[in-house]
Assembly symmetry: D2
Homo-oligomer: 420 residues x 4
């Protein structure tokens, strides 16, 4: 058993059951694992991972190990670790696992360092904290040994593109988020459902008739918006991009600046990938009892410091609900300390959707290994062929058949002379 740092090893049996539960809904990853077990394409490859430590991640780790990889994993968020899963990873899968739910920032970065100690050939990131650490002083030599890295999230990809633009990125990165079988599904259907789930677990708030303000109408935002409406909410959308804003309008939502929505909303959800989206000026306008949650990657979307300054006191009124008493007497309820609510208060994306995301990760590691030394610097997507193959496997696992082009149709699509 390699080194590890988890909360309580005795939770492993409970973690095992839950990991198996997830596994049932990850048929594509299962097929990949079966092949990896036979072919061992990752034999001896050191993979350093920084991911939410959930039951689905455990299945990814299992698949990579079955392929022959040597693994170390730390949490990509201090609040998202499921301690029973961490226990199972240490005790049963026997990988280097460094994650404790609720760890402080110092521990969080110590755990990243523990993963870096593996001297990874391939990195897997969810938010780019590992790659970022790897590029910072103190780890200067290490990047040379990395063949390539994988990044799961929109937020992380934005960071990596900034690094590439600045010319500091030292090895090739694959943006898993750019796979269609990732961002179309994970972000929309996964974040969509699990954000609603997290908020209901945290608050038991009736959505029907509530005014829900969705801030950010990207794939994640629209997934949450359509589900909030599907549960009976009156949804308001805030955006900065004009095209997305008109889309939201034509999807039937009201669109307005947050400064105006702040007065109307009962429930606020940020999904922007940006910082200080809900600020002092907005808190000042909210109704007594307003509920504020974040479902974006980092806990910077809500300016908690500003909220603290406006408040005379705060207290915990439910698991994951902090009540701030403002100096003017109003109360604002912050969920999950502003960390992404689907992992803080629920269990993250359902396995059925992570199946595709993590199939991309598993095949992505293999892709980097196979193309060692051949990939350009910069941020690229997985080849479309891999993306489509995952979709095909997923449909098959669901027992769904689709049409195929006839020869005449295939020909027609390549011609231009045949018109009206």
């Amino acid at each position: 058993m390699p080194d590890y740092d988890v909360k309580d090893l005795s939770l492993a049996p409970q973690g095992k059951l839950r990991i198996e539960w997830a596994e049932k809904n990850m048929p594509v990853l299962r097929l990949i694992r079966e092949r990896f077990t036979k072919e061992k394409p990752l034999k001896g490859v050191r993979v350093g991972c920084c991911l939410h430590v959930t039951t689905e991640t455990a299945n990814l780790m299992d698949s990579l190990k079955s392929g022959g990889a040597e693994l170390a994993l730390c949490a990509s968020n201090p609040l998202s670790t499921q301690d029973d899963v961490a226990a199972w990873l240490a005790k049963d899968l026997k990988i280097g696992i460094y994650a404790k739910r609720g760890e402080d920032n110092k521990t969080y970065y110590k755990h990243i360092d523990a993963v870096l100690a593996l001297k990874p050939s391939v990195t897997i990131d969810d938010g780019a904290d590992l790659v970022s650490a790897l590029h910072q002083s103190g780890n200067s030599g290490m990047a040379a040994g990395v063949w390539g890295g994988l990044e799961e999230t929109t937020t992380g990809v934005i960071r990596l593109r900034a690094m590439a633009k600045e010319g500091v990125l030292k090895f090739p990165m694959v943006a898993i988020n750019d796979s269609q079988t990732k961002h179309f599904f994970d972000n929309r259907y996964g974040t969509g459902q699990s954000t609603i789930d997290g908020i209901l677990r945290a608050t038991n708030h009736l959505l029907a008739g509530s005014k829900v303000v969705i801030i950010g109408y990207g794939w994640c935002g629209r997934g949450v918006a359509v589900r909030a409406r599907g549960m009976g909410a009156d949804v308001i959308v805030c955006e900065i991009e004009p095209v997305k804003a008109i889309e939201a309008v034509m999807d039937g939502y009201r669109v307005m600046p947050l400064a105006q929505a702040a007065k109307e909303g009962d429930l606020f959800i940020t999904l922007t990938g940006n910082l200080a989206v809900i600020r002092k000026e907005h808190f000042l306008k909210m109704k007594d009892g307003a509920v504020v949650a974040n479902s974006g990657h980092f806990n910077v979307e809500i300016d908690i410091e500003a909220l603290e300054k406006l408040s005379s006191s705060k207290r915990k009124v439910r698991h994951e609900v902090e009540e701030y008493l403002l100096k003017d007497g109003r109360r604002i309820h912050l969920l999950g300390e502003g960390r992404l609510i689907n992992l803080a208060a629920a269990e993250g994306h359902p396995a059925m959707v992570m199946d595709m995301s993590f199939a991309n990760q598993a095949l992505g590691v293999e892709f980097i290994v196979k193309n060692r030394g051949k990939l350009p610097l910069g941020v690229q997507a997985l080849p479309e062929k891999i993306d489509k193959e995952i979709a095909r496997l997923k449909l098959k696992s669901m027992g769904i058949k689709i049409d195929t082009l006839t020869p005449a149709q295939r020909k027609y699509l390549s011609e231009w002379t045949m018109g009206t």
Copy 2:
């Protein structure tokens, strides 16, 4: 402090926070409590209650006590009690409370007896177990002292009407469920959301793309159906009433007999008020991994005994998920032991909707007290005036204004000569 039987008195402070959380979303009940506190209309009235012991019920108890009532309360379901709430009711509100989550059937009925020992003048039921017990041998004299009773659920009202039809009902009953501000809301929006909530907490199952079979298209069933679809599910409806069946068709759902739906469904939810709705013949056809839940009042809707007989073993794989291994190798997952899933795995209806239901209960007790001796035997609704007043207060609490008839319109509605 009267007699009580609860799991752990030390949970009272946690219960208190959660009860306050609910209270914020119960503005109508709050207005009633404020009036009751001043007017004491229930002074000295003994009210025997058999209700789900939740944070909303605690607020109802508080309101009735504020009106001067003497109270005893037991659980209306062995699995629905929130032990922290029970603790608060014993320790802080100091009423006779007899409820422990997971109590066995013997304890359940012993607790009903403990409530009957109060010799109630008014009863409040959720499923009619208290009134039923009160009418059975051994309690023969007690009914004479009861001025009237209140019943919360569709299921209970069906039982009471059966009693009335058989001529055994011994005192007047008010069917709270018949109030528009109850069954239009509680059943549709309350059960609708909390059933989805309970299933997500129990399973973390992705609804998008899942085939969800809703059995029973009454108010509860349609509340769940529209939300399941709103979360991305492909919903199939099973019904026995032809009119409801066509409604489901025209609402866009597929309608078929359960024997056929059993082969397609990923997730089955019963909401019928009937027994053995999912039976051996259906289990035999289900896919490996099918999930089965009940959201009807009693745990008789799923024929668990039949499932046991078909199985070679069972094991608990998550909180509230029992995996049955069938002799043919398929696995079927039963949630919450077949008890209503919104209370077994989630927290029951949100306070915002229970506000109206329990406003009906509070005003219903007052109505029985005021009309003592004047109400006819049988099952009746609350006067429409009370129903509308609750709706008006609710709108007011939400800050919503509506139109009123002009004198000309009022006149027009009473005339018949004015046509084309």
Copy 3:
């Protein structure tokens, strides 16, 4: 060929094709017609009808005539007559038909008199104009000869109940609208779709992103509201009943007084059964270019006179669109002269839904004939048995099977002792 008054007999062949088109989607009425043809239960019965002269009505007339009835029919709205259908009724079915699209009010009432000249034993109404005329001076003796009447609409039933309350109603009335297979379907799905259809044909207005104000949240209003939202509109609801208003809120719509909605709306639709619902005070607040339509029975819901007074000129800018130029320079567009837009600009309810409504009418005439002299004065529904039978036939025609109660379930529903 009896007497008739139609616009152009030569349109009969076109009418025939369209009537056959409707017939294909009226399987329940077809089954009834087949039985009527054999049994002739209406032999010699004089049926006076005042209905929208549409392809579905033509099929009803055909069915009644097949049952042996002698028929006269006038329009129930001056703008709703389909002249090709009227031609077919005169030329091919050879019944007394008095209806011309766009007839003036005088002709409208002359046509009612022509129907009354039949001295009907049974009446069929859509808005109660025929029964109302029959009760007014000049027709005093005629009521004595009427065995009973049938009324199709909510509006008509309100009028009839007013007559009954006032004690002036002289024969028994059957409220077809009270059948579940009528008002649950015709009003919600029929008016729902055909109102949207009429508005699109009249305006080609993009619903996605438009603010649509629905005035009246009865069955018709909620049918339109859910479809407008389903087409991408942002829907606002105005109501006078508090319970319906909260339902609208919890269904996710914004609810506000019309005086406030008037400022926001792009498109206004009245469905109230009341008069002067949109008035001067509302027109004064509307945006330039606002579109106003009525889908309630009578053209009194929009106060057109007030609009005329506010305007300096008007002109017809499209079929069924009148542009009013207000003195302040704003333009308001009135559709279909304020008459019910689904018949003024589209073709009324689709045959598939009228199938059930008119099955009720056909069986309703038979019911009155069979129970001649036995029915109480006042307004009553058809027996539930007939209602359910229609639903059963409809499901059968759609090839849909449903579940039936097991003996154990039937027993359970009648028992009260079996509880938790």
Copy 4:
């Protein structure tokens, strides 16, 4: 007045009213026209256009002419011309207009030749028929004089890319369809609504409870699917791309091969851009009374020839409905002769959405003129800056304000060091 070929000049006044009606909902194009009128950026530029001759196109022509362009326009589909609009273009706008609704194929191509006779410097296409003709023998010299062309549709862009791939494309093309303010809106919201509209006008078919089969889940298909469901239909999706197929599944639709859907569907709609999508093998499985429509660009998606061969006779039963009597006695109803139904039976996309598409066209012509000689061969999108500007103008015209990035946020998005 230049040469023209239209059906009836006397329809011009009616066309004028309808063109004004559209204009009210095209505020972005209006702003562009105002600028063009002042700046005359298209002075003397010959623009040859092949577009659906609708009220929105008339407004585009007006704008281009206001910018100084010399214009010739023919129809891009024989069935989509609105003759009153054509009359206005000839009589009032005085441009070369060659279009008659229902023209035969020979006339259709003669009209294209008439446009080519203008020797255009810039072309505008909707389906690429003009550019295709321009590249074919007989017009060989003409391409040299063309600075660039614009293409409106997905279908046309596919053709152009095939030409570019084959190396035959002779001048630069701008794919208007690739603008976000075009394909996100026009295809989804425009085709979405107008397809439903066309089908309702053609059939008056009740969507609630109908099984609607959507073939092709691109932007157009998903626009129609969500609206069909919003009107109460049970929607089935057929696809050939696995990623889109899973999206359809997770959006809650059933996905299956058309061969299977053919047995279930009541209504079939093709939106694929491909040929012979509904073929003999599918017609053979359809239910009696099935309705078949196309909303893709060309009338090749339904194999009408195959349908003819299966049939013993056909007849027109409604405007735009042809009933085919199959030799086995079943009837299949083909709408609008298989041409795109939103233009054959309704009025095409509402002005409010065409506003953005045609703003792209107007600014696209200006873009080509400004960049004459500088654009690379091949197919390219308009610069993102133009796309966003259109979105911004559209929002402004709707009175909608959105948020903007704070300086801190702008900085954050370009940084990578700030993580958890």
